[in-house]
């Protein structure tokens, strides 16, 4: 009787995806800028980590790869960037737990936007923050004397973009089904810290015990680390030794990120409340 019932829903499908995601992304940025403590920690903590760990291990570290003269401060620098991204991306995307808790999310869930825009807005917001932080740290590259070329800069940034999205997706995937932030600490200790420890950021894969090496080769973050290291040293001779060539590494992290995006979108679609 009512024509509205048989006519197709004009707001169905993916319409509203981009504006929805954009406004949620913007909200993440505003949130970040409002929290002064986060701004200070944003740059302060990774630099402190880098200087303390980098200088602390400096003399104990011996590198058996192609560049025996590399200082630990320099070796650990790409690792610092990846660590920073790992934590920023994941912590930013787990704020979805707070959104759920504070009630903000319920309003978004009943808005006429696809669920996909909720996951994409959150993930892109978290990834943007992680990326901004990584790019700020990259400004330290000249201090270390790492030679850069246009290609090395472009590929380094590209690898960080892909990695940021993948890590933010991983964070979203973990957080979406959680109701409290308490459970997240367990995930952090059992998953995130090992993920980072075994990523090749603290020690090179070649010098590790063979069983550790095997685990490292199963770690997606190891390939992220490898990609970034190779891209960063693209203009340097000799190149750092990595297990896989750069294009293959790029392919692996791209697949990782796409899978994370897909799984988080699917997860966002299925949780009922």
């Amino acid at each position: 009787m009512n024509p509205g019932r048989i006519s197709p829903d004009p707001t169905a499908g993916t319409s509203g995806l981009i504006p929805g995601a954009a406004v949620l992304w913007k909200r993440e940025m505003l949130h970040f800028l409002r929290q002064r403590a986060r701004l200070v920690g944003f740059i302060g903590s990774p630099v402190i980590f880098w200087i303390v760990i980098g200088s602390g291990f400096n003399r104990s570290f011996s590198y058996t790869g192609a560049r025996p003269d590399i200082s630990y401060l320099e070796f650990y620098f790409p690792g610092t960037i990846v660590l920073t991204m790992l934590f920023t991306a994941i912590f930013a995307s787990i704020s979805i737990i707070e959104d759920r808790h504070s009630g903000f999310l319920q309003g978004v869930l009943v808005a006429p936007v696809p669920r996909l825009s909720i996951s994409s807005g959150k993930i892109l917001g978290a990834a943007s923050l992680a990326l901004m932080q990584a790019l700020l740290l990259l400004l330290l590259v000249p201090v270390l004397g790492i030679g850069l070329s246009p290609a090395s800069v472009v590929l380094s940034v590209l690898s960080l973009v892909i990695l940021a999205v993948g890590l933010a997706g991983l964070g979203f995937l973990i957080a979406w089904r959680m109701d409290t932030t308490q459970g997240f600490h367990a995930v952090m200790n059992l998953l995130l810290i090992p993920l980072w420890l075994l990523s090749g950021s603290l020690f090179p894969v070649h010098g590790a015990a063979s069983w550790i090496e095997k685990i490292m080769l199963c770690n997606p973050l190891y390939y992220g680390m490898s990609t970034f290291r190779q891209a960063l040293y693209l203009a340097s001779v000799p190149e750092p030794q990595e297990v896989l060539p750069l294009p293959l590494n790029f392919a692996i992290i791209s697949i990782f990120s796409v899978v994370m995006l897909f799984l988080s979108a699917r997860s966002a679609k299925t949780r009922k409340t």
Binding site: N2, V23, Q106, P112
Partner: protein
């Protein structure tokens, strides 16, 4: 009530909602069982029920946060589940817990909402200004929500839900946390929106007084509809006046009154209730007859609360409260 449009604003039929067991040994919990009702467009509609009556579950389904597992829910002739986004664009929802981002300013919150509802930037600006003015929060529009008092935040919440000019506004216990004066004021505000824009307003409450002045209401108890209709019609199901006698032996009193008078008489806890049309004469007579057995006698005109008591056979209280 006379319907002017072909489709009701909201129609619910055969809605049953069962929560799965919380633990393996637990039993599934039925929150709603076979709930059906209709709301006409432009009505000021109240869903009344004590805590634990299934109100919140019903609200979750009506707000489209949860899809109905069984039965049908239709807004303006569109079925939930089929045209979800079209329906959502016509609904304004005020949840019991604030859905504002406390770190963002009032304006930013409204802007975020407007964009989620696909409103053009200029429309968001003019409509926000208009609503904030009307609700008396325009001077705080550039402040973060966390600096606002509870009452003001509630108004911003309302502005947010009304921003996209919804056809139906849903509110879950909207007066929670407000003092009695502010409560009446808030419902008055809602009335103004109903009158001004013809918005259908649906609110839940566990406060009996808030159900007295609506256009129509639904009373929920333990997941089932116990009564529905206009407050006047429901009240008139009870006689003109109601005499309530508290006694130490209410069972005997009930039996005796029942034998003597041909009136609707029933017992709720330690009180016997007599519906009648001439309370002043009745009271004297009853007091004369039952002096000594009756401790307190009161009489009143029937309220929505009395309708609830008559239909459920118990006081208006939540499921977990013990009889007092």
């Amino acid at each position: 009530m006379k319907r002017t449009t072909a489709d009701p604003a909201l129609s619910v039929s055969g809605l049953t909602f069962v929560y799965p067991p919380a633990s393996k040994s637990g039993r599934p919990r039925t929150a709603l069982s076979n709930v059906s009702f209709e709301i006409g467009e432009g009505d000021f509609f109240c869903i009344l029920g004590p805590n634990g009556s299934g109100k919140s579950t019903l609200f979750k389904v009506l707000s489209t946060a949860t899809l109905p597992p069984s039965g049908h829910v239709m807004f303006f002739g569109h079925q939930v589940g089929e045209q979800l986004r079209l329906i959502r664009s016509q609904l304004g929802v005020v949840f019991q817990n604030p859905a504002l981002d406390r770190k963002l300013t009032v304006k930013e919150n409204l802007n975020c909402h407007g964009r989620l509802y696909r409103m053009p930037e200029t429309a968001i600006r003019t409509r926000s200004a208009e609503l904030l003015e009307l609700l008396g929060v325009s001077d705080r529009s550039s402040e973060p929500v966390e600096t606002l008092s509870g009452g003001l935040a509630r108004r911003v919440e309302l502005a947010k839900a009304l921003l996209h000019s919804p056809r139906l506004l849903l509110l879950d216990e909207p007066t929670t946390g407000l003092d009695p004066t502010a409560r009446a004021g808030f419902l008055g505000l809602l009335r103004r929106f109903q009158a001004g824009a013809g918005t259908t307003i649906v609110y839940t409450t566990h406060i009996l007084e808030e159900a007295e002045d609506c256009d129509a209401l639904l009373i929920l108890d333990e997941g089932s509809v116990v009564a529905s209709g206009t407050p006047g019609a429901l009240r008139s199901e009870i006689g003109k006046e109601l005499i309530i006698m508290k006694s130490r032996d209410p069972v005997r009193l009930l039996e005796s009154v029942r034998k003597k008078y041909d009136l609707p008489v029933y017992r709720v806890d330690d009180a016997v209730r007599v519906e009648c049309d001439n309370a002043s004469a009745m009271i004297g007579e009853l007091l004369g007859t039952y002096e000594g057995t009756v401790d307190i006698v009161t009489f009143s005109r029937p309220s929505v609360g009395d309708v609830y008591i008559k239909k459920t056979g118990h006081q208006f209280r939540s499921k977990n409260d013990t009889a007092s």
